[in-house]
Symmetry: D3
Subunit: 165 residues, 6 copies
């Protein structure tokens, strides 16, 4: 018999753009929790390379037909977004090459702001350990091969956008 | 509406003895997953301070009446235990003062052994960041105050056992 | 009987703004050394959020009436400021989530520049481990609760300044 | 008898400006490999302090008359530059105060892009552990002593350039 | 034209037993240097699982017919062994999950003992990042699959030896 | 005018044996605090190489005639020893190659046990960064040069003791 309450998790990030590491983490999260909200940060201060709509759409395309993954744009504090979704679980990806310190600091701060809310860290599969959005933009700029790094349509969008600059 | 499949997680460890950090992580896990199996490693090579029955009982006492937390002794590979419980989620605590490297290595190895199984890392609340089983035994040996470190009955058992040595 | 020479320490930083972690470290330092000079870096290249006068005044308010803590604005090399104050002790806060590498590099460089000058690292109490000035500005921007992060008057100044932007 | 194939290594970087740590690493590399190409990244996005010609010339001056060290300006992907030089060895300096995560990520990414190409990490001698180009610019700005940090002519160029700003 | 002096590197370790990560690093080293001496530490204090002859033979089998890789048992200081082989290059594997601190300390100490001798760090390919000799023995003990971790003959030897204990 | 209360610090450790890094840290501490008690842990569980009397005497020899450095053997909790000496300052050495995690955990635990007691971390000078007691025993075992690692009399005692085993 199941606990009657759905387990809802949110996965906030900038996703500029979504990589195969992000997509792998979302897939894993979707097997662990009843519902996963991917929360694309509007994040105007960082001046993202892709617009929020583009960043949202890249993830939506990867999870078309997956009923327990939803993608939304969000603004404000992560804990406020979590409460709005009745979620008490924040997902963060963690890689061998992550910025642990910042991740830990955010997790503690979010827990201080809302003591009911906890962060879980999920590792992508080994093949995606080394991927970061920053790296992908560097490789794309110099014409490197993006095949094993991002979904094909993201690679095409990157190249198209770079050629216009 | 809920996904029809229960989300079962296992939390393996030596728990020699269970600290307030371990108990905090189990509590958090119990809100995140439908069922949590705490798997106490028999772990003969490390020659634990407490017997496996004592280690199991310390956790059981803390979760009496909590229906979705079960405590068991296990032996062998963690991934084999997970499969036996129909679980694909391994929980590991992670602290600012954890041995990340070893944790990562284990998580990757377990994922290699069983690609369906993933590890999630959960942080204890800030108050329990600094607690480790090793530290507790050191403090107990020299008569330090264990109140904010372990459940009261664990503290008493530690002192009793040390006085017999 | 005491050594006749006063132990003078300096604590340089940007303090943009001072957090409860900074204030906790200054309090600890004031019990350890005869005099503590908090040195607020003018730091024009980082374009601080608060003016140097505001940053100085936030700390002064917290230490009004504490006779062995003095707050000053400084410019130039930390080691030159230390010598000017007849100090051979630089204090730096260190957190579980600090940028160790940079801190170490600065400590070594300062020691190379003036071999008489050494750096001591002090940890804030556990409650302030997770606080950074960067985090505070993010939380304030989105209307999060600043109560356990900064002195009340700093929180008010932050909100006031943000509302004008 | 020797393997008939020359071992060629490349050492890419911004070198803005070259420090005694960089020069020490190049010297070590020159004893390890038959030829070393120091590849000065044009790197327009980071807006370097010195022009690419200045950065190249600082290194060239240090290795005048050393026949197996060549200095060039490069653009694009590091792996493409390596292939162009028939090199399968990328050298990166590693210090106690390095950004390991980024270094590892780049090494893995380069290996993914070209599986024949590997990265080796070389440590500078202990005396140069603490030196970074960023630190040097900070010290120069405030009139600190640059003697044990950069070649004399780099120190003079730094001071001259800063005085014009 | 080539430098007339051969580049000889040594790769010291316990290799108890050699994993696919070790073998990958030796392969990479063999493309970088003219000769590679794999130096199996007799290492009596650690009481290795396999005898020195077994540990040597596991590596020799993997490099049969590779003329520039030689495997030897050594004793004493690594720098003395290096000098005996006219080598000034020590190779150490480095993994995302390595014990950097110890590696750095050894590298600095060896450089202090013999200033002509330097350490280079080589990463294994991504597939071997997570492998350690300690992990392999744990997995073997509980009957886990060793296929992607060690050469087949090492796996067989492990199982055989464990069954006798 | 000076604060009337003396600043007393304790520096606990195993010191098995004292290295030039330990001695450098004690020297620095002696310039920072009015009195420094070096507390040599009896530490029976680790089975030290040198007896407690030998370990104490190595440090005493280095500070003969230095009136504000005292060396004592201690037992029990560090915080109890600190209280006994009316000290609220624990000194710990910190190196680029330290075990930070353990140091942090101890510092937090000690602060929890006695909230008046704080830990300060002091770095040895660059020349001693790489030295650890463990390393020294390894080097001594194989006849390596100990000159720049330990005081001469410690080196002689090491060699004498090793020759008897």
């Amino acid at each position: 018999m199941k606990d009657s309450k759905s387990k809802i998790a949110i996965y906030p990030g900038t996703f500029d753009p979504a990589t195969l590491a992000h997509i792998d983490i979302i897939k894993k999260a979707a097997t662990m929790f009843d519902e996963v909200y991917v929360a694309v940060a509007r994040n105007t201060s960082k001046s993202p390379f892709f617009t929020e709509k583009e960043r949202l759409s890249f993830i939506e395309q990867a999870f078309e037909g997956v009923s327990n993954v939803k993608v939304e744009i969000f603004d404000g504090l992560v804990v406020d977004y979590a409460k709005q979704k009745s979620s008490s679980i924040i997902i963060r990806g963690i890689r061998a090459v992550s910025d642990f310190d910042y991740e830990f600091q955010m997790a503690i701060a979010n827990h201080k702001l809302e003591s009911e809310i906890n962060t879980v860290f999920i590792m992508p599969s080994e093949d995606y350990f080394y991927i970061s959005s920053r790296l992908i933009k560097e490789i794309a700029t110099f014409g490197g091969d993006l095949k094993s790094l991002v979904p094909e349509y993201v690679g095409e969008a990157l190249i198209k956008k770079l050629s216009k600059k």
